[in-house]
């Protein structure tokens, strides 16, 4: 299966691991990730400025490129995924917004929100299937106590993301199980790490991050797995007692694709 793949800016810089292991794993699972020749930042701030158009245009161009290639669009970063899906939802369901965007872009064909957007996790669940994934695992993560850390952006708003129940999610837990790891469930797994607040009020972000890490540690987690570069940044910067890795890294490790696997 061929899909249009959008890594996003962070994955080209701070979160290279997230990108690299996503590509390797996809190849091993028989999915071709096609990165568009040109792309821009997703826009990054949909929810904080949802009444204007300019910051969403790059997402719309990306969605349109996928539509023209006749492929679904796959994202990995929680924030990109959130922005792209919200933009796509607005293009499909908000005619005023869609009209403004299409006029602004002034392209020959209109875009009406037809592209199917997957988060990489959804691709694993809905296209590959966790059962098939479990069969492809070469080095199961046996004995590893892993806590899923969803953060706030990956699943919310629940109706628009259409991915999992934001209050009681299970998609990352199911992935951990498919990879042979032991799931540790803890209450704060879907709480916000502090996000961009870390720029303005580092103390608040620290408090949030620490609450999450402590909760995970007290539940017995030895490793946290996330899809979000900002979550990883905040948790690590604020001295999380539990190491944090990207889900793609865990995936690549279980598929036997990680060269320096240290198990």
């Amino acid at each position: 299966m061929k899909v249009t793949y959008f890594p996003g800016c962070t994955l080209k810089n701070k979160a290279r691991d997230l990108d690299e292991y996503a590509r390797k794993s996809a190849e091993a699972l028989g999915i071709t990730l096609e990165e568009p020749e040109t792309w821009q930042c997703c826009g990054g701030v949909f929810t904080t400025a949802n009444d204007e158009v300019a910051t969403k245009l790059s997402s719309v161009r990306l969605l349109k490129a996928a539509a023209e290639a006749g492929q679904p669009l796959v994202t990995v970063c929680s924030a990109c995924h959130n922005v792209v899906k919200q933009t796509n939802y607005a293009m499909a369901n908000d005619p005023t917004f869609a009209d403004r965007v299409n006029r602004y872009m002034a392209e020959k064909t209109l875009y009406t929100g037809d592209t199917k957007v997957y988060h990489y996790l959804e691709l694993l669940r809905d296209v590959v299937g966790f059962e098939n994934l479990a069969k492809a695992v070469k080095k199961p993560l046996t004995g590893k106590k892993i806590g899923a850390y969803y953060g706030c952006l990956l699943l919310r708003p629940g109706k628009v993301m259409g991915m999992d129940d934001p209050e009681n999610p299970r998609i990352i837990e199911d992935l951990i199980r498919a990879l042979g790891g032991e799931v540790v469930t803890y209450a704060r797994r879907n709480e916000c790490c502090g996000g961009y607040v870390s720029a303005e009020s580092p103390a608040l972000a620290k408090k949030n991050s620490n609450l999450i890490a402590e909760n995970a540690a007290s539940a017995g987690a030895e490793l946290l797995v996330t899809a979000c570069p900002l979550c990883k940044y905040n948790l690590e910067k604020n001295g999380s007692s539990v190491p944090v890795v990207y889900f793609t890294e865990l995936l690549a490790e279980a598929l036997g694709l990680k060269e320096d696997a240290n198990d």
Binding site: D165, E167, N168, T185, A187, R188, E214, S218
Partner: protein, 665 residues
């Protein structure tokens, strides 16, 4: 040719105020077949009815048309009048010139014109009327109550009290239902067991009541007065007639690790068990999922210790069939699963419990002998948070919870909060609510007592998250009145889970052809005026299977259902409605369209042999209507593509004749 009499009623000024009744009577005189036409002030009065009777005799009338109020009002009256004068009651037609004419028109001219047209249509129909005779079917004088909770028990007791035999079918090994698990009952705080167990014993001792415990209904056929029901008696591996309920087996059974469902899994029972001390019938049951003897053939201890010789490892499920005149559904409710509400950490901490679990924790016969102790460490909780509406009134989360209000939670939460403060004054108690809904006799006073006398902290707002941390439960919530976030380090969190109909209700509804709403509650025949009857004749509703209900309401409805059943069973025969559908087999193509639309399951199909030319025969599938089940709604006559279905009293040609008469200039 019919000899038709027309009787135009004034209804005081109700009709005569807007319709020129003399003119109507005069105009209808000219219609074909009309040999007599008159008007009178109150046709339904004795004098009015005498006019009709005399005219029938004097003019040898074969059909009559009464131009009056709606047939819902007085059709039965005028049919009786006709019958008293020797005319078949189905030769009477009503032209509704009140609700559908005089009451909706202001102008005398147009009102009169319309009344004439309506009268003309009725006359056209009478021309095609034929005498009809209602059939009769006998009534089996025995009732079936499905479900042995307080609803089923009360219904059965009341029916038996009137002298009719009644059987209770209960899936659990004992009757008693949810009420048997409760500690105290609001608003009077009397002990649930103290008021329930005497009724359970009454039911068991009543000679007219037969209890089929550990059993379920597996098949229903027939119709009102004549239901044939197959009851599956699950193998309990203990002979009911021999077991004395001594309980020795339940003490000696080596399989000790079976979650005790009566205490909601908070402690264990043995593989052979009696659910609780006052169980009715007090007979042991072997749980085949856990019994070592049944699984591996190696054990047999219960058999050795049983002095009555009641153990029978070779028992099989048995099926019995019985005839019933009426069926009462009393299948009750269950709290919904908390699986999808893990923001309250139900699966993460033993100290997050449901209200029913709290009920067992405070019950003297419960796992802690009535001491309120944390399930995790057996310590006394000092701070308790009650969360109301967990899964109820969920309009934004309908896929997780229920859109409706579960109705009983506000009151039992107030009860839990009050009893906790009463018994353990050192405990701080918080109740989070969306609204407090306590209408009912002495209910609001009860809730206010919890707040005012017992110092329970009622907070308007919902709990967003419960985080287990060490021995504490960190509760994050919002206080909507103060507009602030609350963080409470609780020792115990109690969730008032929404309630839903028992899972057995849906398949049962299919067997009974009784209708349900989208939440799987049984639908009543009329929400206000026929609240204890199902639209399916002979099927009655008792308790929470029809909607969330507390005990007082359940018992009222249970007795109401019993009264309806008694009314039915008192009759030796049921007079049917002759206005039922029938299939013209020559036209029927066996397509099943009619059966698909029939809401009552009255239509069946059979292969029938038809004679064809040249002495050949042909087997064809044709529809037939069971007149005892048919309610005469007419859905099939509209659905039938070949016009084979016709409804007595409302035949296709009668309806068309009415339409023609209305359209005639």
């Amino acid at each position: 040719m019919q000899r038709i009499g027309v009787f135009v009623c004034w209804c005081g000024s109700n009709i005569a105020g807007t319709v020129d009744v003399h003119a109507v009577a005069e105009a209808l005189k000219n219609e074909s077949g009309v040999v007599f036409s008159t008007d009178y002030q109150y046709m339904c009065s004795q004098a009015g009815q005498d006019i009709i009777k005399n005219a029938i005799a004097e003019h040898k009338l074969t059909g009559i048309v009464v131009c009056s109020c709606s047939p819902r009002m007085h059709e039965a009256t005028f049919r009786k009048t006709a019958a008293a004068a020797g005319l078949n009651p189905y030769m009477v037609e009503i032209a509704n010139i009140r609700e559908q004419c005089s009451w909706v028109h202001k102008d005398m001219l147009s009102g009169t014109e319309k009344a004439v047209i309506l009268g003309r249509a009725a006359i056209a129909k009478v021309h095609l009327n034929a005498p009809l005779t209602p059939g009769q079917s006998p009534v089996a004088k025995r009732a079936l109550v499905i479900g042995g909770g307080i609803a089923g028990i009360q219904t059965a007791l009341d029916i038996a009290d009137a002298g009719f035999p009644v059987d209770i079918v209960e899936t659990k090994p004992t009757i008693g239902g949810k009420m048997a698990q409760l500690d105290k009952t609001f608003p009077t705080l009397d002990c649930a067991a103290c008021i329930l167990t005497p009724k359970m014993v009454d039911a068991a001792q009543n000679e007219l009541i037969k209890i089929y415990s550990y059993s379920e209904v597996s098949q229903v056929s027939g119709y009102v007065g004549n239901f044939d029901v197959t009851i599956k008696r699950r193998a309990r591996y203990v002979k009911e007639d021999l077991c004395t309920g001594c309980g020795l087996c339940t003490e000696k059974c080596p399989q000790k690790k079976v979650p005790n469902e009566f205490n909601l899994g908070m402690d264990n029972r043995r593989a052979i068990y009696i659910p609780f001390a006052q169980a009715v019938p007090k007979i042991a049951t072997i749980d085949p999922d856990y019994c070592t003897m049944l699984k591996t053939g190696k054990c047999g201890i219960c058999s050795k210790v049983c002095t009555a010789g009641a153990i029978d490892y070779t028992a099989k499920d048995e099926y019995i069939t019985e005839k019933y005149g009426a069926i009462v559904v009393a299948t009750g409710y269950n709290p919904i699963s908390m699986e999808k509400f893990d923001e309250f950490a139900y699966s993460q901490s033993k100290d997050v419990i449901t209200s029913l679990e709290f009920e067992r924790l405070t019950n003297a016969a419960g796992p802690t002998a009535g001491k309120l102790l944390r399930p995790s460490d057996g310590e006394h909780p000092h701070k308790i948070v009650f969360v109301q509406c967990v899964g109820s009134r969920c309009d934004s989360c309908a896929e997780k919870g229920k859109e409706y209000c579960s109705k009983i939670c506000c009151m039992y939460t107030a009860k839990h909060a009050m009893l906790t403060r009463d018994k353990y004054p050192d405990t701080e108690v918080y109740v989070f609510y969306i609204d407090v809904r306590t209408p009912g006799k002495a209910f609001d006073e009860f809730y206010r007592r919890a707040v005012e006398e017992y110092g329970v902290h009622y907070v308007k707002g919902m709990v967003g998250k419960v985080v287990p941390q060490g021995k504490k439960l960190m509760v994050q919530a919002s206080d909507l009145i103060d507009g602030k976030q609350l963080h409470i380090d609780a020792d115990l969190v109690v969730l008032a889970a929404a309630i839903e109909p028992d899972k057995s209700a849906r398949p049962l509804a299919t067997m009974l052809t009784a209708s349900m709403d989208t939440n799987d509650f049984f639908t009543e025949a009329h929400p206000k005026l026929r609240p204890v009857e199902s639209p399916t004749a002979g099927v009655f509703l008792s308790g929470a299977c029809q909607g969330p209900k507390d005990i007082p309401e359940t018992v009222s409805q249970a007795s109401a259902a019993a009264a309806k059943v008694i009314g039915l069973l008192c009759k030796d025969h049921l007079t049917g409605n002759p206005c039922v559908a029938s299939a013209n087999e020559m036209l029927c193509s066996g397509c099943s369209q009619c059966a698909n639309v029939c809401p009552y399951g009255a239509i069946t199909y059979s292969e029938k042999e038809f004679r064809m030319p040249n002495r050949t025969t042909l087997m064809r599938r044709v529809a037939s209507v069971n007149p005892a089940v048919c309610q005469g709604c007419g859905a099939c006559t509209v659905a039938c593509p070949s016009g084979a279905m016709d409804l007595n009293g409302f035949k296709n040609n009668q309806i068309m004749a009415e339409v023609d008469a209305i359209c005639r200039n």
